[in-house]
Amino acid sequence: MFRFKSWMPLFPALLLITALALPMPVRADGSNAYPMNSYVLQVNGLACPYCAYGLEKQFARQHGVIKTDIDIVKGVAVVHVRPGTRFTDAQLKGFVYDAGFALRRVVHRPGGGRP
C-alpha cells in the first residue's frame, strides 16, 4: 500500500533531480535570467572597443533597436529592442557580418524563446 508520508523525505531530492534535468537557460554573462525584449549574441573577435563600438553603431541603425550593450570581456552583445521587434538569425548574422565580425550564436531571443 502506498504510504504518502514515507515518500515525503524524497520530495526535495526528486524536485532537485527534476530541476536539474530541465533545460536551464543560462545567460552569457553567467546569470540565469534573460533580459526582456533583447537578443543576446555571442560574437567572435569583440576584444577591443574599436570593433565593439562598430557593432554597436551597426545595431543602432536598425529600426526597433533601443540600445546595445557590449561586454568586450565576455564577447557578448545584448541588443535591446522595442516590444514586437523581431530579427531572424540570418538578419542578425548579416548585421554582425556588416560590422566586420562573425556571429558565434544567438543565446537568447525576446520573450524568452530559445534558439
Partner: protein, 325 residues
C-alpha cells in the same frame, strides 16, 4: 659522404646562416631596460577620477587628459593623478584617441563621426565633419579614432571605417589623404586595415598606428611614404615578439623623437627609434579576456602615461628598472 648527405649539410648551413641573419631583424633583443610602474589611479565607475572604457590619453600643459569613452567625457588630471575637471563630450559621444596642443583639446568622436575641438576652458569651440552622419567625402568621417596636430596647426585624423588618414588645415579644410577610402590593404605601403591612431613629430613626420594591419607606417612631411615596421616585412603578420604587434592602437612621440606604441592585444607598450628600431617593451600583463595597454602619451620629462583598458585606470611609468628599496 653521399650526395644526399652533402645536400643535407648544405641545407642546414643555409638555414643557420639565414637564421643568424633574420634573428636580429625579426626578433630583436631589447637595447634598453624596461620602464617601471610608479603609480596608478582610476578604477571603474562614473565618479570623478573613475573610468568606463578609458581609451585615449594625452599630455599637455602639465596636465594629463584621459578619454573616458563610455562616460562620454574627457577627464583632466595633474601629473600626480589629482582630478581637475571634466569636459563633456556631447551627444553621448565616444572619445577615442585625443591630442592636446596649446591648451586646446582635439577629440576623435567615434560615435558621432566628428572631430571636436575644445578650448582651454573646456568649451566646445569647433566641430569638424557632420555630427551623427558618417561620410566618406573629403573632410567627412566614419568612426574617427585618432587625431594629431602638426607643427603648423594642421590636423591629421585616422578614419577607422574609411580606411584612411586625412590631413586638414587649421581651418578644417581638406588638404590630402593617405590610404584608399573604404578599401583595405594588408601588405603594400600606403594602405590601411582599420587605421586607429596618428602622431606627428615636430618636423612634420607622420606616424600611423595601423590597427588591424599590425604595423606602423611613416610618411614624410611632404606626404611621401618613408618606412613601415611590425613583424616580417610589416605585412600584416601579428605576433608577440619584440617589434611585432597585435593591434597597435595608439602611437606617441617622446621628447627625444622616439616612438611609443600601445600594442593592445600584447598588453604592452613598445618603444622604438624614429627609424623603427626596437628599444624596449613594458606593460601590465593580463590573463583572461580583455587587454590592458591601449593608449600611451609621453611627458616632456620622459614620464610615460598609459591607459589600462581592462583595469579602467591610468598607469605612470618611468624609464629603467625599479629602484631597489
Amino acid at each position: 659522404m653521399s650526395r644526399a648527405g652533402r645536400v643535407g649539410w648544405i641545407g642546414a648551413g643555409v638555414l643557420i646562416v639565414l637564421g643568424a641573419a633574420i634573428k636580429p631583424v625579426w626578433f630583436p633583443a631589447p637595447v634598453e631596460p624596461p620602464y617601471h610602474l610608479v603609480k596608478t589611479w582610476g578604477g571603474e565607475g562614473t565618479a570623478p577620477g573613475r573610468f568606463r572604457n578609458p581609451i585615449g590619453i594625452a599630455y599637455g600643459n602639465g596636465r594629463v587628459y584621459v578619454a573616458d569613452s563610455l562616460n562620454h567625457r574627457i577627464q583632466v588630471f595633474d601629473p600626480d593623478g589629482r582630478f581637475i575637471r571634466r569636459i563633456a563630450v556631447p551627444d553621448q559621444g565616444r572619445p577615442m584617441n585625443i591630442a592636446v596642443r596649446d591648451g586646446k583639446v582635439y577629440v576623435a568622436d567615434y560615435w558621432n563621426d566628428d572631430v571636436l575641438i575644445f578650448g582651454a576652458d573646456g568649451a566646445l569651440e569647433r566641430t569638424l565633419g557632420t555630427p551623427g552622419k558618417a561620410g566618406s567625402a573629403p573632410g567627412r568621417f566614419n568612426s574617427p579614432t585618432g587625431v594629431a596636430v602638426g607643427p603648423k596647426g594642421d590636423l591629421y585624423v585616422a578614419g577607422f571605417h574609411n580606411q584612411r588618414v586625412q590631413k586638414l588645415g587649421p581651418d578644417g579644410r581638406f588638404i590630402r589623404q593617405w590610404g584608399h577610402t573604404g578599401e583595405k590593404g594588408y601588405v603594400e605601403a600606403g594602405w590601411f586595415n582599420y587605421p586607429i591612431d596618428v602622431a606627428v613629430a615636430p618636423d612634420g613626420t607622420l606616424y600611423v598606428a595601423g590597427g588591424y594591419n599590425d604595423r606602423i607606417q611613416v610618411f614624410g612631411p611632404d606626404g611621401r611614404f618613408l618606412r613601415k615596421w611590425g613583424g616580417p616585412f610589416a605585412a600584416n603578420v601579428s605576433g608577440p615578439f619584440n617589434g611585432w604587434f597585435r593591434t597597435p592602437t595608439c602611437v606617441a612621440i617622446g621628447p627625444r623623437g622616439n616612438v611609443f606604441v600601445a600594442d593592445e592585444e600584447n598588453d604592452r607598450i613598445q618603444k622604438f627609434t624614429p627609424q623603427g628600431r626596437f628599444l624596449t617593451a613594458f606593460g601590465t600583463p593580463h590573463r583572461g579576456p580583455g587587454y590592458t595597454e591601449i593608449a600611451v602619451t609621453v611627458a616632456p620629462d620622459g614620464t610615460v602615461y598609459t591607459v589600462n583598458l581592462i583595469g579602467n585606470r591610468v598607469e605612470v611609468w618611468r624609464p629603467g628598472p625599479a629602484p631597489a628599496r
